[in-house]
């Protein structure tokens, strides 16, 4: 019982600190303390880091969806609906969620590990001794970059996933190519696209926040860097999956 109380107490304090940290970041952004050059550098690095693995995963996922979907739909004589199935699954759920998970495993881990090793090597402290705010110089650019990079990667993932489905559709299911594409375009409505797309911005903030915060408070040498980085990725995963359930419910309720 005593342990439980201590645990809950520690959790509340930890959450408070993390929220304070997020507040600091937002205050800088609101005041326009955003270093464009650093943001562009981070956009480039985060994008390069994740683009190949997200592209491969999406393409393969699109193919698998089409293969499975075609077998199932054919039993009902509705194989031309495979284009619907692929496009809607990707756009509404799979690309945003898998994209975010992969992004936190690559770019998020990179943020946490870089900031963590800078913390334990006194580079964060050195930033303060040089009269520069480390949150403004090191954190804000990473979080702002993630906010732009993840949504772009997710759209790319949707396009490539649909391409994977298209290839299976025309070669395995013998659906004419132009028909498949028309079906896809007809299937994905405004609401379908944005119900998935909006979530990517939440995920981007979540990943940037969790990974930067864990990196920033890393202590304990190289062991600490390992521990805090793994924790950053694990927290991101859990929060993405849980918040996705919540966000999906909210979006479906509001929007249908």
């Amino acid at each position: 019982m005593k342990h439980l109380i201590e645990y809950i107490f520690g959790f509340i304090i930890g959450l408070g600190n993390a929220l304070f940290f997020l507040g600091e970041v937002l205050a800088h952004i609101v005041r326009g303390h955003v270093r464009i050059k650093e943001v562009l550098k981070q956009i480039y690095e985060q994008g390069i880091q994740s683009i190949v693995i997200i592209a491969l995963t999406s393409f393969a996922t699109g193919m698998v969806l089409a293969l499975q979907g075609y077998l199932m739909l054919e039993r009902f004589g509705a194989k031309e609906y495979v284009a619907h199935l692929v496009a809607l699954s990707l756009v509404r759920e799979l690309s945003p969620v898998f994209g975010a998970l992969i992004f936190s495993g690559k770019a998020g881990a990179k943020m946490a590990a870089e900031l963590g090793s800078m913390s334990v090597n006194d580079q964060v402290l050195a930033t303060r001794t040089m009269g520069v705010d480390p949150v403004e110089f090191l954190i804000v650019p990473r979080m702002v970059a993630a906010f732009f990079v993840l949504p772009i990667l997710v759209v790319l993932s949707e396009v490539l996933g649909i391409a994977g489905g298209y290839i299976v559709g025309i070669s395995e299911a013998n659906i004419p190519g132009s028909f498949y594409l028309n079906r896809t375009l007809a299937a994905v409505g405004y609401v379908d696209f944005f119900s998935g797309f909006i979530k990517t911005f939440f995920f981007a903030i979540l990943i940037g926040w969790v990974c930067c915060y864990q990196g920033f408070k890393t202590r304990g040498g190289s062991l600490g860097v390992g521990r805090f980085t793994t924790r950053a990725v694990a927290f991101s995963y859990i929060l993405i999956v849980l918040s996705n359930a919540l966000l999906t419910k909210i979006i479906l309720t509001l929007w249908g």
């Binding site: 580079q123 402290l125 303060r128 001794t129 040089m130 009269g131």
Partner: protein
Amino acid sequence: MIKVSGLYKAINGQDILQDINLEVEDGEILVILGQSGAGKSVLLQHLMGLRKPDKGNVVISGVDITNLSERDLLRVRKNIGYLFQEGALYDFMDVYENLAFPLEEHTDLNEGQISQRIKNVLQTVGLEGVEGKYPVELSGGMRKRVALARAVILNSKILFCDEPTSGLDPIRSRDISDLIRNLSKQLQCTTVVTSHDVANSFRIADRLALIHEGRLIAVGIQGEIASSKDPFVRQFFKN
């Protein structure tokens, strides 16, 4: 002048600094000697407001920095150079970018002036042609020199050096010690150096202080300290 009065600090319930009183005159070099874990780094961090004391205060050039906000402290710190134990250069920047960083942040120098200034300061610390190298490609001694160059590049009148000789071989330790002394005198810096290295401390210091378990147990010029009656002080200087 730097003036510390009645400074106390506990970390995680453990007393780290107790009743520290200290004055450093303008242009003077003070070396704080002490064994590992004595509280040297923590004391130095208080001198530039990187940590807040539990009690007591720190006055730098007439300004009490104890209760300044982090925003005001950032402004104060522009005028202070700090050499970290391991250098703490940004490892994602090469030497040139590391040295250019404080200049770009706090001066209006153009690119040509920045590059000239970097060349000069590297020459002062005895390095040439390392601008394009990353910190990991430098030896420990070279990294410390670059870090020292970064600490003085804004012509700060105050210089803090945390264990400048730790991790270096005897010859490089002597070189960096002499370099710090010469640089400090040349730039007329008020300088505080921490160290556990007695011989080199005597080379650098105008005045010495000995810290043990978070307390200053002796302060004075070389002769005074070396002839102290205190058993711990005698013990410390024997080996």
